[in-house]
Amino acid sequence: MKVLVAIKRVIDYNVKIRVKSDETGVETTNVKMSMNPFDEIAVEEGVRLRENGSAEELIAVSIGPKQAQETIRTALAMGADRGIHVETDDEVEPLAVAKLLKALIEKENPDLVVLGKQAIDDDSNQTGQMLAALVGWSQGTFASELEVADGKAKVTREIDGGLETIQINMPAVVTTDLRLNTPRYASLPNIMKAKKKPIDESSPADLGVDISARLATLKVTEPSSREAGVIVEDVAELVDKLKNEAKVI
Protein backbone atom coordinates (compact mmCIF):
# COMPACT_ATOMS: atom_id res chain seq x y z
CA MET A 1 0.00 0.00 0.00
CA LYS A 2 1.15 3.48 -0.80
CA VAL A 3 0.06 6.33 1.47
CA LEU A 4 0.09 10.01 0.66
CA VAL A 5 -0.26 12.67 3.36
CA ALA A 6 -0.95 16.31 2.68
CA ILE A 7 0.66 18.84 5.01
CA LYS A 8 0.32 22.59 5.25
CA ARG A 9 2.67 25.17 6.64
CA VAL A 10 0.70 27.49 8.94
CA ILE A 11 1.31 30.07 11.62
CA ASP A 12 2.43 28.17 14.72
CA TYR A 13 -0.40 27.37 17.12
CA ASN A 14 1.39 29.21 19.93
CA VAL A 15 1.56 32.50 18.07
CA LYS A 16 -0.86 35.27 18.94
CA ILE A 17 -2.41 36.14 15.59
CA ARG A 18 -2.30 39.81 14.57
CA VAL A 19 -4.40 41.31 11.82
CA LYS A 20 -2.54 43.52 9.32
CA SER A 21 -3.36 47.18 9.73
CA ASP A 22 -4.72 47.38 6.15
CA GLU A 23 -7.18 44.56 6.97
CA THR A 24 -6.06 42.44 4.00
CA GLY A 25 -5.05 39.47 6.11
CA VAL A 26 -2.96 38.43 9.11
CA GLU A 27 0.62 39.35 9.81
CA THR A 28 3.05 36.65 8.67
CA THR A 29 6.40 38.46 8.53
CA ASN A 30 8.72 37.40 11.35
CA VAL A 31 6.05 35.03 12.61
CA LYS A 32 6.88 31.49 13.59
CA MET A 33 5.45 28.91 11.20
CA SER A 34 5.07 25.18 11.67
CA MET A 35 3.16 22.15 10.40
CA ASN A 36 -0.61 22.31 10.82
CA PRO A 37 -1.25 20.19 13.96
CA PHE A 38 -3.93 18.05 12.26
CA ASP A 39 -1.48 17.30 9.45
CA GLU A 40 1.10 16.20 11.96
CA ILE A 41 -1.43 13.66 13.14
CA ALA A 42 -1.86 12.59 9.51
CA VAL A 43 1.90 12.10 9.15
CA GLU A 44 2.07 10.16 12.40
CA GLU A 45 -0.75 7.88 11.22
CA GLY A 46 1.07 7.31 7.96
CA VAL A 47 4.31 6.53 9.77
CA ARG A 48 2.50 4.02 11.97
CA LEU A 49 1.02 2.29 8.93
CA ARG A 50 4.53 2.23 7.49
CA GLU A 51 5.96 0.77 10.69
CA ASN A 52 3.34 -1.93 11.16
CA GLY A 53 3.90 -3.11 7.63
CA SER A 54 0.55 -2.02 6.14
CA ALA A 55 2.21 0.60 3.96
CA GLU A 56 5.31 0.27 1.83
CA GLU A 57 5.74 3.92 1.07
CA LEU A 58 4.74 7.18 2.67
CA ILE A 59 4.84 10.39 0.65
CA ALA A 60 4.41 13.84 2.18
CA VAL A 61 3.01 16.57 -0.05
CA SER A 62 2.98 20.27 0.67
CA ILE A 63 1.69 23.10 -1.48
CA GLY A 64 3.03 26.54 -0.75
CA PRO A 65 6.04 28.85 -0.81
CA LYS A 66 9.69 27.78 -0.85
CA GLN A 67 9.71 27.44 2.96
CA ALA A 68 7.07 24.71 2.78
CA GLN A 69 10.07 22.47 2.15
CA GLU A 70 10.99 22.88 5.83
CA THR A 71 7.59 21.46 6.70
CA ILE A 72 8.16 18.56 4.33
CA ARG A 73 11.56 18.00 5.92
CA THR A 74 9.83 17.71 9.30
CA ALA A 75 7.51 15.03 7.89
CA LEU A 76 10.54 13.22 6.47
CA ALA A 77 12.21 13.39 9.89
CA MET A 78 9.10 11.88 11.44
CA GLY A 79 9.36 8.96 9.04
CA ALA A 80 7.93 9.78 5.60
CA ASP A 81 9.99 8.30 2.75
CA ARG A 82 9.95 11.15 0.31
CA GLY A 83 8.38 14.52 -0.29
CA ILE A 84 6.64 16.41 -3.05
CA HIS A 85 6.63 20.18 -3.03
CA VAL A 86 4.23 22.05 -5.27
CA GLU A 87 5.61 25.55 -5.13
CA THR A 88 3.40 28.60 -5.25
CA ASP A 89 3.41 31.92 -3.46
CA ASP A 90 -0.29 32.41 -4.13
CA GLU A 91 -3.03 31.80 -1.64
CA VAL A 92 -4.48 28.39 -2.47
CA GLU A 93 -8.12 27.79 -1.64
CA PRO A 94 -9.34 24.32 -0.60
CA LEU A 95 -10.65 23.58 -4.09
CA ALA A 96 -7.32 24.41 -5.68
CA VAL A 97 -5.52 22.20 -3.17
CA ALA A 98 -7.95 19.36 -3.85
CA LYS A 99 -7.34 19.70 -7.61
CA LEU A 100 -3.58 19.70 -7.15
CA LEU A 101 -3.79 16.63 -4.92
CA LYS A 102 -5.98 14.94 -7.53
CA ALA A 103 -3.32 15.56 -10.14
CA LEU A 104 -0.70 14.06 -7.82
CA ILE A 105 -2.90 11.06 -7.09
CA GLU A 106 -3.11 10.39 -10.82
CA LYS A 107 0.68 10.44 -10.99
CA GLU A 108 1.45 8.51 -7.81
CA ASN A 109 -1.48 6.10 -7.51
CA PRO A 110 -1.66 5.93 -3.72
CA ASP A 111 -4.18 3.65 -1.99
CA LEU A 112 -4.83 6.00 0.87
CA VAL A 113 -4.64 9.77 1.26
CA VAL A 114 -4.60 11.17 4.79
CA LEU A 115 -5.19 14.87 5.45
CA GLY A 116 -5.86 16.98 8.50
CA LYS A 117 -9.56 17.65 8.94
CA GLN A 118 -8.78 21.35 8.71
CA ALA A 119 -5.88 23.79 8.79
CA ILE A 120 -5.71 26.00 11.85
CA ASP A 121 -5.19 29.15 9.78
CA ASP A 122 -8.37 29.30 7.67
CA ASP A 123 -10.31 26.49 9.45
CA SER A 124 -12.02 25.60 6.15
CA ASN A 125 -12.52 21.87 6.72
CA GLN A 126 -13.15 21.28 3.00
CA THR A 127 -10.10 19.92 1.24
CA GLY A 128 -10.48 16.25 2.18
CA GLN A 129 -14.13 16.14 1.24
CA MET A 130 -13.57 17.99 -2.06
CA LEU A 131 -10.71 15.67 -2.93
CA ALA A 132 -12.80 12.54 -2.28
CA ALA A 133 -15.51 13.93 -4.53
CA LEU A 134 -13.07 14.90 -7.32
CA VAL A 135 -11.40 11.49 -7.45
CA GLY A 136 -14.58 9.56 -6.69
CA TRP A 137 -13.13 7.75 -3.68
CA SER A 138 -14.73 6.85 -0.37
CA GLN A 139 -14.08 9.20 2.51
CA GLY A 140 -13.75 8.83 6.26
CA THR A 141 -13.60 12.25 7.86
CA PHE A 142 -12.76 13.31 11.45
CA ALA A 143 -11.07 9.99 12.18
CA SER A 144 -10.20 9.16 15.76
CA GLU A 145 -9.31 5.58 14.88
CA LEU A 146 -8.18 3.98 11.66
CA GLU A 147 -7.70 0.33 10.78
CA VAL A 148 -6.67 -0.78 7.34
CA ALA A 149 -7.03 -4.41 6.18
CA ASP A 150 -8.01 -6.39 3.08
CA GLY A 151 -8.69 -3.42 0.86
CA LYS A 152 -10.98 -1.80 3.40
CA ALA A 153 -10.59 0.90 6.01
CA LYS A 154 -12.46 0.96 9.29
CA VAL A 155 -12.77 4.54 10.43
CA THR A 156 -14.11 5.70 13.77
CA ARG A 157 -15.43 9.21 13.28
CA GLU A 158 -15.94 11.90 15.86
CA ILE A 159 -19.43 13.22 15.26
CA ASP A 160 -21.79 15.38 17.27
CA GLY A 161 -22.68 13.53 20.43
CA GLY A 162 -20.54 10.43 19.95
CA LEU A 163 -18.50 8.17 17.75
CA GLU A 164 -19.53 6.57 14.49
CA THR A 165 -17.66 3.62 13.03
CA ILE A 166 -17.82 3.09 9.30
CA GLN A 167 -16.19 0.72 6.88
CA ILE A 168 -15.13 2.11 3.54
CA ASN A 169 -13.54 0.67 0.44
CA MET A 170 -10.05 1.59 -0.58
CA PRO A 171 -8.73 3.68 -2.16
CA ALA A 172 -9.95 6.24 0.32
CA VAL A 173 -9.50 9.71 1.68
CA VAL A 174 -9.26 10.01 5.47
CA THR A 175 -9.13 13.23 7.48
CA THR A 176 -7.76 13.27 11.00
CA ASP A 177 -9.22 14.50 14.25
CA LEU A 178 -7.19 15.40 17.32
CA ARG A 179 -7.59 12.12 19.15
CA LEU A 180 -6.34 9.84 16.37
CA ASN A 181 -2.81 9.73 17.79
CA THR A 182 -0.08 11.75 19.47
CA PRO A 183 2.57 12.71 16.92
CA ARG A 184 6.10 11.68 17.80
CA TYR A 185 9.11 13.95 18.14
CA ALA A 186 11.43 13.72 15.22
CA SER A 187 14.45 12.00 16.79
CA LEU A 188 17.95 13.27 16.10
CA PRO A 189 19.06 10.28 13.97
CA ASN A 190 15.88 10.62 11.90
CA ILE A 191 16.45 14.35 11.49
CA MET A 192 19.87 13.52 10.07
CA LYS A 193 18.41 10.86 7.76
CA ALA A 194 15.74 13.27 6.55
CA LYS A 195 18.44 15.46 5.06
CA LYS A 196 19.13 12.81 2.45
CA LYS A 197 15.54 11.95 1.53
CA PRO A 198 14.37 13.30 -1.83
CA ILE A 199 11.85 16.09 -2.33
CA ASP A 200 10.35 16.37 -5.85
CA GLU A 201 9.58 19.90 -6.92
CA SER A 202 6.82 20.96 -9.23
CA SER A 203 4.39 23.82 -9.78
CA PRO A 204 0.62 24.11 -10.28
CA ALA A 205 1.35 24.82 -13.96
CA ASP A 206 3.38 21.57 -14.25
CA LEU A 207 0.38 19.72 -12.90
CA GLY A 208 -1.96 21.59 -15.25
CA VAL A 209 -4.10 23.00 -12.47
CA ASP A 210 -5.61 26.48 -12.42
CA ILE A 211 -5.37 27.70 -8.85
CA SER A 212 -6.77 31.17 -9.36
CA ALA A 213 -8.94 32.35 -6.50
CA ARG A 214 -12.68 31.72 -6.58
CA LEU A 215 -13.27 33.80 -3.48
CA ALA A 216 -12.52 37.45 -2.83
CA THR A 217 -11.56 38.46 0.70
CA LEU A 218 -13.19 41.78 1.47
CA LYS A 219 -11.48 42.38 4.77
CA VAL A 220 -10.01 40.67 7.79
CA THR A 221 -10.65 42.16 11.22
CA GLU A 222 -9.96 41.33 14.86
CA PRO A 223 -12.85 39.75 16.73
CA SER A 224 -14.55 42.43 18.83
CA SER A 225 -13.17 42.45 22.34
CA ARG A 226 -15.44 41.40 25.15
CA GLU A 227 -16.26 43.89 27.85
CA ALA A 228 -15.57 42.94 31.45
CA GLY A 229 -18.50 41.34 33.28
CA VAL A 230 -20.18 42.61 36.42
CA ILE A 231 -21.31 40.71 39.49
CA VAL A 232 -24.91 41.43 40.40
CA GLU A 233 -26.18 41.62 43.97
CA ASP A 234 -29.33 39.56 43.56
CA VAL A 235 -31.81 38.08 41.14
CA ALA A 236 -33.88 41.27 41.05
CA GLU A 237 -30.88 43.26 39.82
CA LEU A 238 -30.09 40.59 37.24
CA VAL A 239 -33.63 40.65 35.87
CA ASP A 240 -33.58 44.41 35.82
CA LYS A 241 -30.30 44.48 33.88
CA LEU A 242 -31.45 41.85 31.41
CA LYS A 243 -34.64 43.82 30.82
CA ASN A 244 -33.38 47.40 30.75
CA GLU A 245 -29.67 47.24 29.83
CA ALA A 246 -29.28 44.14 27.70
CA LYS A 247 -32.88 44.36 26.53
CA VAL A 248 -33.03 40.59 26.03
CA ILE A 249 -36.15 39.88 28.09
Partner: protein, 383 residues
Protein backbone atom coordinates in the same frame (compact mmCIF):
# COMPACT_ATOMS: atom_id res chain seq x y z
CA UNK B 1 29.30 34.18 5.75
CA UNK B 2 26.29 32.34 7.04
CA UNK B 3 24.85 33.12 10.46
CA UNK B 4 22.09 30.51 10.31
CA UNK B 5 22.11 27.17 12.08
CA UNK B 6 22.21 24.27 9.60
CA UNK B 7 18.73 23.02 8.69
CA UNK B 8 18.97 19.83 10.77
CA UNK B 9 19.98 21.76 13.88
CA UNK B 10 17.09 24.16 13.36
CA UNK B 11 14.82 21.15 13.30
CA UNK B 12 16.46 19.73 16.41
CA UNK B 13 15.99 23.08 18.15
CA UNK B 14 12.35 23.15 17.09
CA UNK B 15 11.75 19.59 18.32
CA UNK B 16 13.38 20.27 21.67
CA UNK B 17 11.50 23.54 22.05
CA UNK B 18 8.29 21.59 21.74
CA UNK B 19 9.46 18.82 24.03
CA UNK B 20 10.30 21.40 26.69
CA UNK B 21 7.02 23.29 26.19
CA UNK B 22 4.81 20.22 26.23
CA UNK B 23 6.58 17.92 28.63
CA UNK B 24 9.10 19.69 30.85
CA UNK B 25 7.58 23.05 31.64
CA UNK B 26 4.26 21.59 32.90
CA UNK B 27 6.11 19.49 35.50
CA UNK B 28 9.12 21.69 36.13
CA UNK B 29 8.37 22.19 39.82
CA UNK B 30 7.94 18.47 40.48
CA UNK B 31 10.98 16.77 38.97
CA UNK B 32 13.65 17.60 41.54
CA UNK B 33 14.32 16.70 45.12
CA UNK B 34 16.73 19.44 46.18
CA UNK B 35 19.33 19.70 43.43
CA UNK B 36 18.84 16.16 42.12
CA UNK B 37 16.28 14.41 39.97
CA UNK B 38 13.79 12.23 41.78
CA UNK B 39 14.39 8.60 40.76
CA UNK B 40 11.06 8.39 38.91
CA UNK B 41 11.78 11.63 37.04
CA UNK B 42 15.22 10.38 36.11
CA UNK B 43 13.80 7.16 34.72
CA UNK B 44 11.16 9.04 32.71
CA UNK B 45 13.71 11.52 31.43
CA UNK B 46 16.11 8.81 30.31
CA UNK B 47 13.30 7.18 28.34
CA UNK B 48 12.53 10.54 26.73
CA UNK B 49 16.20 10.97 25.86
CA UNK B 50 16.08 7.66 24.01
CA UNK B 51 12.84 8.64 22.23
CA UNK B 52 14.38 11.94 21.12
CA UNK B 53 17.48 10.11 19.94
CA UNK B 54 19.54 12.15 22.38
CA UNK B 55 20.65 9.46 24.80
CA UNK B 56 24.32 10.12 25.63
CA UNK B 57 24.45 13.08 23.23
CA UNK B 58 27.35 14.48 25.22
CA UNK B 59 29.36 11.23 25.22
CA UNK B 60 32.14 10.83 22.61
CA UNK B 61 31.47 8.23 19.94
CA UNK B 62 34.42 6.05 20.99
CA UNK B 63 32.69 5.62 24.36
CA UNK B 64 29.41 4.58 22.79
CA UNK B 65 27.72 7.98 22.75
CA UNK B 66 26.44 10.18 19.95
CA UNK B 67 29.55 12.30 19.85
CA UNK B 68 27.64 15.39 18.74
CA UNK B 69 29.61 18.41 17.63
CA UNK B 70 29.74 21.40 19.93
CA UNK B 71 27.29 23.40 17.80
CA UNK B 72 24.69 20.65 18.09
CA UNK B 73 25.34 20.38 21.82
CA UNK B 74 24.79 24.10 22.33
CA UNK B 75 21.34 23.67 20.78
CA UNK B 76 20.52 20.88 23.24
CA UNK B 77 21.88 22.79 26.25
CA UNK B 78 20.02 25.95 25.29
CA UNK B 79 16.67 24.30 24.82
CA UNK B 80 16.81 22.05 27.89
CA UNK B 81 17.66 25.05 30.03
CA UNK B 82 14.53 26.96 29.10
CA UNK B 83 12.98 25.04 31.96
CA UNK B 84 13.99 24.49 35.57
CA UNK B 85 12.94 20.83 35.36
CA UNK B 86 16.51 19.55 35.17
CA UNK B 87 19.29 19.77 37.73
CA UNK B 88 21.57 22.77 37.36
CA UNK B 89 24.96 21.20 37.95
CA UNK B 90 24.82 17.57 36.86
CA UNK B 91 26.76 16.53 33.77
CA UNK B 92 24.90 13.22 33.65
CA UNK B 93 21.68 14.54 32.08
CA UNK B 94 20.63 12.27 29.23
CA UNK B 95 23.40 9.87 30.17
CA UNK B 96 26.78 11.52 30.31
CA UNK B 97 29.88 11.74 32.44
CA UNK B 98 32.20 14.51 33.56
CA UNK B 99 34.82 15.07 30.85
CA UNK B 100 37.88 14.06 32.90
CA UNK B 101 36.63 10.49 32.81
CA UNK B 102 37.07 10.25 29.04
CA UNK B 103 40.82 10.56 29.68
CA UNK B 104 41.00 7.35 31.71
CA UNK B 105 43.09 4.42 30.54
CA UNK B 106 41.34 1.18 29.60
CA UNK B 107 41.45 -0.49 33.00
CA UNK B 108 40.23 2.70 34.66
CA UNK B 109 37.47 3.05 32.07
CA UNK B 110 36.16 -0.43 32.91
CA UNK B 111 36.19 0.31 36.58
CA UNK B 112 35.01 3.94 36.64
CA UNK B 113 33.79 5.36 33.32
CA UNK B 114 31.57 2.52 32.09
CA UNK B 115 29.65 2.19 35.37
CA UNK B 116 29.07 5.97 35.37
CA UNK B 117 27.73 5.84 31.82
CA UNK B 118 25.55 2.88 32.80
CA UNK B 119 24.20 4.85 35.74
CA UNK B 120 25.68 2.40 38.25
CA UNK B 121 28.29 4.65 39.86
CA UNK B 122 28.10 8.32 40.88
CA UNK B 123 31.04 10.65 41.01
CA UNK B 124 32.08 14.16 42.07
CA UNK B 125 34.86 16.52 41.07
CA UNK B 126 37.00 17.79 43.94
CA UNK B 127 39.35 20.68 43.21
CA UNK B 128 38.36 23.69 45.32
CA UNK B 129 39.89 24.25 48.76
CA UNK B 130 39.51 26.90 51.45
CA UNK B 131 42.57 28.75 50.12
CA UNK B 132 42.33 27.67 46.52
CA UNK B 133 39.19 28.59 44.58
CA UNK B 134 39.67 30.76 41.52
CA UNK B 135 43.36 30.12 41.98
CA UNK B 136 43.51 26.34 42.18
CA UNK B 137 47.29 26.35 41.86
CA UNK B 138 47.37 27.48 45.48
CA UNK B 139 45.96 24.13 46.57
CA UNK B 140 47.54 22.19 49.43
CA UNK B 141 45.92 18.77 49.25
CA UNK B 142 48.84 16.48 48.53
CA UNK B 143 49.24 13.04 47.04
CA UNK B 144 52.61 11.57 47.96
CA UNK B 145 53.86 8.49 46.15
CA UNK B 146 54.69 5.60 48.45
CA UNK B 147 55.50 2.39 46.59
CA UNK B 148 52.45 1.16 44.68
CA UNK B 149 50.12 3.80 46.09
CA UNK B 150 49.69 7.48 46.87
CA UNK B 151 48.95 8.88 50.32
CA UNK B 152 46.40 11.66 50.14
CA UNK B 153 46.08 14.42 52.75
CA UNK B 154 44.08 17.64 52.75
CA UNK B 155 40.58 19.00 52.50
CA UNK B 156 38.28 20.18 49.73
CA UNK B 157 35.17 22.31 49.91
CA UNK B 158 32.16 23.22 47.72
CA UNK B 159 32.15 19.74 46.21
CA UNK B 160 28.85 19.25 44.37
CA UNK B 161 27.22 15.84 44.47
CA UNK B 162 29.67 14.57 47.06
CA UNK B 163 26.88 12.94 49.03
CA UNK B 164 26.13 9.65 47.35
CA UNK B 165 29.26 9.75 45.20
CA UNK B 166 31.04 6.41 44.84
CA UNK B 167 34.34 8.01 43.89
CA UNK B 168 35.93 11.43 43.66
CA UNK B 169 38.06 12.94 40.91
CA UNK B 170 40.54 14.63 43.20
CA UNK B 171 42.98 17.27 42.03
CA UNK B 172 46.03 17.20 44.27
CA UNK B 173 49.63 18.37 44.47
CA UNK B 174 52.11 15.65 43.55
CA UNK B 175 55.15 17.94 43.35
CA UNK B 176 55.23 21.09 45.50
CA UNK B 177 58.23 22.56 43.69
CA UNK B 178 56.69 22.36 40.26
CA UNK B 179 53.20 23.41 41.48
CA UNK B 180 51.03 24.43 38.49
CA UNK B 181 53.88 23.70 36.09
CA UNK B 182 53.56 19.95 36.22
CA UNK B 183 53.13 19.47 39.96
CA UNK B 184 49.37 18.95 40.06
CA UNK B 185 47.65 15.65 39.22
CA UNK B 186 44.23 14.06 39.01
CA UNK B 187 43.57 10.89 40.97
CA UNK B 188 40.46 8.78 41.45
CA UNK B 189 39.58 8.13 45.08
CA UNK B 190 36.92 5.67 46.22
CA UNK B 191 34.51 7.32 48.61
CA UNK B 192 34.63 4.36 50.98
CA UNK B 193 38.43 4.34 51.27
CA UNK B 194 39.57 4.63 54.91
CA UNK B 195 40.40 8.26 55.77
CA UNK B 196 37.77 9.87 53.48
CA UNK B 197 35.23 11.86 55.53
CA UNK B 198 32.33 13.96 54.34
CA UNK B 199 32.69 16.73 56.89
CA UNK B 200 29.92 19.20 56.40
CA UNK B 201 27.15 20.03 53.98
CA UNK B 202 27.14 23.66 52.82
CA UNK B 203 23.78 25.43 52.52
CA UNK B 204 23.67 27.92 49.66
CA UNK B 205 21.12 30.23 48.06
CA UNK B 206 21.00 27.67 45.25
CA UNK B 207 19.52 24.22 45.80
CA UNK B 208 22.98 22.67 45.48
CA UNK B 209 24.32 21.25 48.68
CA UNK B 210 28.06 20.89 48.12
CA UNK B 211 30.26 19.32 50.78
CA UNK B 212 33.48 19.81 52.57
CA UNK B 213 35.56 16.66 52.38
CA UNK B 214 38.50 15.61 54.48
CA UNK B 215 41.27 13.27 53.28
CA UNK B 216 43.46 11.87 56.08
CA UNK B 217 46.25 9.48 55.09
CA UNK B 218 44.06 7.98 52.39
CA UNK B 219 45.88 5.18 50.55
CA UNK B 220 45.05 5.35 46.86
CA UNK B 221 46.42 2.72 44.43
CA UNK B 222 48.93 4.29 42.04
CA UNK B 223 46.97 2.91 39.07
CA UNK B 224 44.21 5.40 39.96
CA UNK B 225 46.32 8.28 38.69
CA UNK B 226 44.70 9.82 35.60
CA UNK B 227 47.14 10.37 32.75
CA UNK B 228 50.69 11.11 33.82
CA UNK B 229 51.83 12.63 37.09
CA UNK B 230 51.66 16.41 36.76
CA UNK B 231 49.02 16.33 34.03
CA UNK B 232 46.25 17.67 36.31
CA UNK B 233 45.83 21.08 34.72
CA UNK B 234 46.73 19.95 31.23
CA UNK B 235 43.83 17.49 31.27
CA UNK B 236 41.47 20.23 32.37
CA UNK B 237 42.45 22.38 29.37
CA UNK B 238 40.93 19.84 27.00
CA UNK B 239 37.39 20.51 28.17
CA UNK B 240 37.44 23.79 30.03
CA UNK B 241 36.58 25.89 26.95
CA UNK B 242 33.62 23.72 25.97
CA UNK B 243 32.42 23.94 29.59
CA UNK B 244 32.39 27.72 29.25
CA UNK B 245 30.40 27.50 26.03
CA UNK B 246 27.96 25.31 27.91
CA UNK B 247 27.46 28.10 30.45
CA UNK B 248 26.68 30.51 27.65
CA UNK B 249 24.31 28.12 25.86
CA UNK B 250 22.48 27.62 29.13
CA UNK B 251 22.26 31.41 29.44
CA UNK B 252 20.60 31.57 26.01
CA UNK B 253 17.88 29.20 27.19
CA UNK B 254 17.27 31.24 30.30
CA UNK B 255 17.16 34.60 28.52
CA UNK B 256 14.71 33.10 26.02
CA UNK B 257 12.36 31.91 28.76
CA UNK B 258 12.65 35.19 30.68
CA UNK B 259 11.85 37.10 27.52
CA UNK B 260 8.80 34.93 26.89
CA UNK B 261 7.55 35.29 30.43
CA UNK B 262 8.31 38.98 30.78
CA UNK B 263 6.64 39.98 27.50
CA UNK B 264 3.55 37.91 28.26
CA UNK B 265 3.23 39.37 31.73
CA UNK B 266 3.93 42.93 30.55
CA UNK B 267 1.14 42.56 28.00
CA UNK B 268 -1.34 41.42 30.63
CA UNK B 269 -0.52 43.44 33.70
CA UNK B 270 -2.18 46.83 33.99
CA UNK B 271 -1.07 49.42 36.57
CA UNK B 272 -2.24 53.01 36.81
CA UNK B 273 -4.53 52.33 33.88
CA UNK B 274 -1.88 51.18 31.43
CA UNK B 275 -0.20 47.96 30.45
CA UNK B 276 3.35 47.44 31.69
CA UNK B 277 4.20 46.73 28.06
CA UNK B 278 3.38 50.35 27.21
CA UNK B 279 5.91 51.74 29.71
CA UNK B 280 9.28 52.66 28.34
CA UNK B 281 11.03 51.56 31.53
CA UNK B 282 9.74 48.04 30.95
CA UNK B 283 10.21 48.12 27.17
CA UNK B 284 13.88 48.88 27.58
CA UNK B 285 14.34 45.86 29.83
CA UNK B 286 12.68 43.69 27.20
CA UNK B 287 14.72 45.15 24.38
CA UNK B 288 17.93 44.62 26.34
CA UNK B 289 17.06 40.95 26.88
CA UNK B 290 16.28 40.61 23.19
CA UNK B 291 19.54 42.24 22.16
CA UNK B 292 21.63 40.24 24.61
CA UNK B 293 20.06 37.02 23.42
CA UNK B 294 20.93 37.93 19.86
CA UNK B 295 24.49 38.87 20.75
CA UNK B 296 24.98 35.75 22.80
CA UNK B 297 23.58 33.48 20.06
CA UNK B 298 26.01 34.94 17.53
CA UNK B 299 28.91 34.54 19.95
CA UNK B 300 28.02 30.99 20.94
CA UNK B 301 27.26 29.69 17.45
CA UNK B 302 30.42 31.29 16.12
CA UNK B 303 32.59 29.80 18.86
CA UNK B 304 30.99 26.37 18.58
CA UNK B 305 31.30 26.26 14.79
CA UNK B 306 34.95 27.30 15.09
CA UNK B 307 35.61 24.57 17.65
CA UNK B 308 33.95 22.02 15.38
CA UNK B 309 36.34 23.09 12.61
CA UNK B 310 39.18 22.13 14.96
CA UNK B 311 40.27 25.66 15.80
CA UNK B 312 41.17 27.12 19.19
CA UNK B 313 38.37 28.97 21.01
CA UNK B 314 40.07 29.91 24.25
CA UNK B 315 39.33 33.64 23.92
CA UNK B 316 35.83 33.15 22.56
CA UNK B 317 35.06 30.83 25.46
CA UNK B 318 36.10 33.47 28.03
CA UNK B 319 33.83 36.02 26.38
CA UNK B 320 30.94 33.60 26.03
CA UNK B 321 30.99 32.55 29.67
CA UNK B 322 31.30 36.07 31.05
CA UNK B 323 28.67 37.52 28.73
CA UNK B 324 26.31 34.55 28.97
CA UNK B 325 26.30 34.23 32.74
CA UNK B 326 26.05 37.94 33.48
CA UNK B 327 23.41 38.71 30.84
CA UNK B 328 21.27 35.72 31.74
CA UNK B 329 21.41 36.77 35.39
CA UNK B 330 20.42 40.29 34.34
CA UNK B 331 17.53 38.86 32.32
CA UNK B 332 16.32 36.83 35.30
CA UNK B 333 16.67 39.91 37.51
CA UNK B 334 14.68 42.12 35.16
CA UNK B 335 12.11 39.42 34.52
CA UNK B 336 11.70 39.18 38.30
CA UNK B 337 11.34 42.96 38.55
CA UNK B 338 8.65 43.04 35.86
CA UNK B 339 6.71 40.30 37.68
CA UNK B 340 6.83 42.21 40.97
CA UNK B 341 6.05 40.08 44.01
CA UNK B 342 5.05 37.17 41.78
CA UNK B 343 8.60 37.08 40.48
CA UNK B 344 9.78 36.14 43.96
CA UNK B 345 7.36 33.27 44.40
CA UNK B 346 8.21 29.62 43.99
CA UNK B 347 5.22 29.26 41.68
CA UNK B 348 7.29 30.71 38.84
CA UNK B 349 10.71 29.54 37.65
CA UNK B 350 12.21 33.04 37.77
CA UNK B 351 13.55 32.86 41.32
CA UNK B 352 15.40 29.63 40.51
CA UNK B 353 16.93 31.12 37.35
CA UNK B 354 17.93 34.12 39.43
CA UNK B 355 19.59 32.10 42.18
CA UNK B 356 21.30 29.71 39.77
CA UNK B 357 22.59 32.37 37.40
CA UNK B 358 23.91 34.42 40.28
CA UNK B 359 25.95 31.41 41.32
CA UNK B 360 27.21 30.82 37.76
CA UNK B 361 28.97 34.19 37.80
CA UNK B 362 31.15 32.77 40.59
CA UNK B 363 31.61 29.11 39.79
CA UNK B 364 33.81 27.54 37.13
CA UNK B 365 35.67 30.80 36.83
CA UNK B 366 34.40 34.08 38.32
CA UNK B 367 33.96 36.90 35.82
CA UNK B 368 36.91 38.90 37.16
CA UNK B 369 39.28 35.97 36.88
CA UNK B 370 38.22 35.15 33.32
CA UNK B 371 38.60 38.79 32.37
CA UNK B 372 42.04 38.81 33.91
CA UNK B 373 43.02 35.85 31.75
CA UNK B 374 41.44 37.39 28.67
CA UNK B 375 43.20 40.69 29.38
CA UNK B 376 46.54 38.93 28.97
CA UNK B 377 45.46 37.81 25.51
CA UNK B 378 44.14 41.26 24.62
CA UNK B 379 47.35 42.95 25.73
CA UNK B 380 49.35 40.47 23.71
CA UNK B 381 47.20 40.89 20.61
CA UNK B 382 46.87 44.69 20.59
CA UNK B 383 49.74 45.82 22.82
Amino acid sequence: MNFELPEELKMLKETLRRFVDNELIPIERETLDGAKLKPESEKWLNEKAVELGLWQFDVPEEHGGLGLGLLAKTVVWTELNRSIALPTRLPEIFGGASPILYNLNETQQERYLKPVLDGKLKTAFAQTEADAGSDPAAMRTSAVRDGDHYVLNGSKRFISNALGADFFQVIAVTDKEKAQRGGISTILVDADAPGVTLLREQELITDDKPWEILFEDVKVPAENLVGKEGDGFKLAQSWISTGRIRHAARGMGIITRCLEMATTYANDRVTFGEKLADRQAVQWMLVDMYTHLHQLSLMVYHAAAKYDRGEDIRNEAFMCKVFGDTKSFEAADNCMQIHGGLGLTKELPIERFWRDQRSMIITEGPTEVLKMALARQVLKEYG
